[in-house]
């Protein structure tokens, strides 16, 4: 009996959709001015100093820097852009590919990662997204400036999504 229970538990672990503790999501920063390896070298050194960043790739011809970021943490967009500038280049839009659970607060769709502090507002192509759904989302990431507010939420302008 114990063996059966253990086998069932093992099977559940492998077949259930899981957001493992070491899970990551992908961020892509468009970088203008990239024209040489020395340029990329300087950019690489600046971005690698950004805490939590993993698997950095610099696509010189495409003009992007992509990396993974720890699931459950939201990125500091301002610091990211500042690092690109200090690396000698101009940051443009930031895009994100992340998964989470959808909730609704005051008519606003939110994508939660692990807890209430790690969430994104969703805008753009959100038709069909329902509350409590677990979804993968791809879109442009920006900070919504709200006058008179201390907090400026991170917003994903969704370009595509799918259920997990």
């Amino acid at each position: 009996m114990k063996k059966v229970i253990l086998s069932l538990l093992t099977l559940l672990i492998f077949i259930s959709p899981s957001f493992a503790a070491d899970d990551v999501y992908t961020i892509k920063v468009k970088v203008d001015g990239l024209a040489c390896p020395f340029c990329a070298f300087g950019l690489e050194k600046k971005l690698k100093g950004y805490e939590g960043l993993q698997n950095l790739k610099i696509l010189v011809d495409d003009g992007y820097a992509t990396f993974n970021y720890p699931y459950g943490k939201t990125p500091d967009i301002d610091e990211l852009k500042e690092r690109v500038k200090k690396g000698g280049f101009t940051p443009r839009e930031i895009s994100i590919n992340v998964h989470g659970t959808v909730r609704k607060r005051n008519q606003t769709l939110l994508l939660f990662m692990n807890d209430l502090n790690s969430s994104f507002q969703l805008s753009g192509k959100t038709q069909g997204i329902q509350e409590e759904q677990k979804i993968f989302v791809e879109g442009l990431l920006f900070k919504q400036e709200k006058k008179g507010h201390k907090e400026h939420p991170l917003v994903i302008e969704v370009t595509s999504w799918k259920k997990v």
Binding site: C36, K57, V60, K86
Partner: protein, 299 residues
């Protein structure tokens, strides 16, 4: 090999921070670029130059030089300060072929600031302009002598005066192509009864990435070809307030070069040939120069 030559070569390979102006698409070998990215750590660079000047009836001189350079990034991608001290060996031969003298020593120390004035970036390209200003200090010797007497001031290692300099440089890069243009003017002041004429350097550098044709993911092995035009104009000198004979003139070098880059390392070489010389009076004229070395960025 003479001790002084060994010293220069050794100095080039010592762990001495060298400036590396983080330059684009392969930094030009003999020209400057508008990139202003100092160093967070230290860059090791060895850059050795051999210059030959000669004139029928006057003999020739071979100058070997190796700069010692320390950079400091004051503001990231905005302002970098550079201190430069050249080690110089000059070997002089008379018109008869007889060896006259060899002397080794430090040249004049230069302190320079370079500031990013303008930057416009787009996909796979950039246009930048930087301004620079500095001061040359009288640290080089001006009284070197041999068995025939004190060498002429134009053959000494130092100018013996405080000399400000001002310049600007522009860089345009688009995918495989690069173009740099720069100008620098040095105002030479009197020192010890002698005043070197003002000097202006002007450069054009064209770069082309031979391989890869498309640079996908950093890092990739890269080979760049350069063709540069490097000009030097010098005003006539004054000695005791009187215009000195056989001084002043202009030279333009044609400088093809090749460069290999991978990650943070560059190996490069360039041969400069004087294609236009216009010198006043009878004086030694530049014929050719050879530059070679490597750059290694370590942060």
């Amino acid at each position: 090999m003479e001790k002084s030559v060994k010293f220069i070569l050794l100095a080039g390979f010592l762990l001495i921070p060298f400036p590396t102006l983080l330059i684009a698409n392969g930094p030009p070998i003999n020209s400057d670029s508008a990139f202003v990215t100092g160093l967070n750590g230290a860059a090791f660079r060895s850059f050795f130059k051999v210059l030959r000047k000669s004139k029928s009836g006057l003999g020739n001189i071979t100058v070997l030089s190796q700069p010692l350079i320390l950079p400091y990034e004051v503001l990231a991608n905005q302002l970098v300060l550079v201190a430069s001290l050249p080690l110089v060996l000059k070997d002089r031969r008379l018109a008869t072929g007889q060896h006259r003298s060899s002397h080794f020593g430090i040249g004049d120390f230069t302190f320079l600031g370079k500031y990013n004035l303008y930057q416009h970036d787009w996909h796979s390209g950039t246009f930048r302009v930087a301004g620079k200003a500095g001061l040359q200090f009288p640290t080089g010797i001006t009284t070197q002598a041999d068995n025939l007497g004190v060498l002429p001031r134009t053959l000494q290692n130092g100018k013996g005066s405080w000399n400000p300099l001002l310049g600007a440089v522009m860089t345009f890069l688009l995918q495989r192509f690069g173009f740099n243009a720069g100008i620098a003017y040095q105002l030479n002041t009197p020192g010890s009864g002698y005043e070197f004429g003002d000097a202006m350097k002007y450069d054009l550098a064209f770069a082309f990435r031979l391989i890869p044709s498309v640079y996908k993911v950093y890092p990739e092995h890269q080979i760049n070809a350069f063709i540069e035009l490097n000009g030097e104009w010098k005003q006539r000198d004054r000695s005791g307030g009187v215009i000195a004979a056989n001084t002043g003139g202009n030279v333009i070098y044609l400088s093809p070069g090749i460069q290999y880059m991978y990650e943070s390392i560059i190996f490069e070489a360039s041969f400069q040939v004087a294609i236009l010389t216009a010198f006043i009076g009878n004086q030694l004229e530049p014929q050719w120069a050879l530059n070679f070395g490597f750059r290694w960025l370590i942060f």
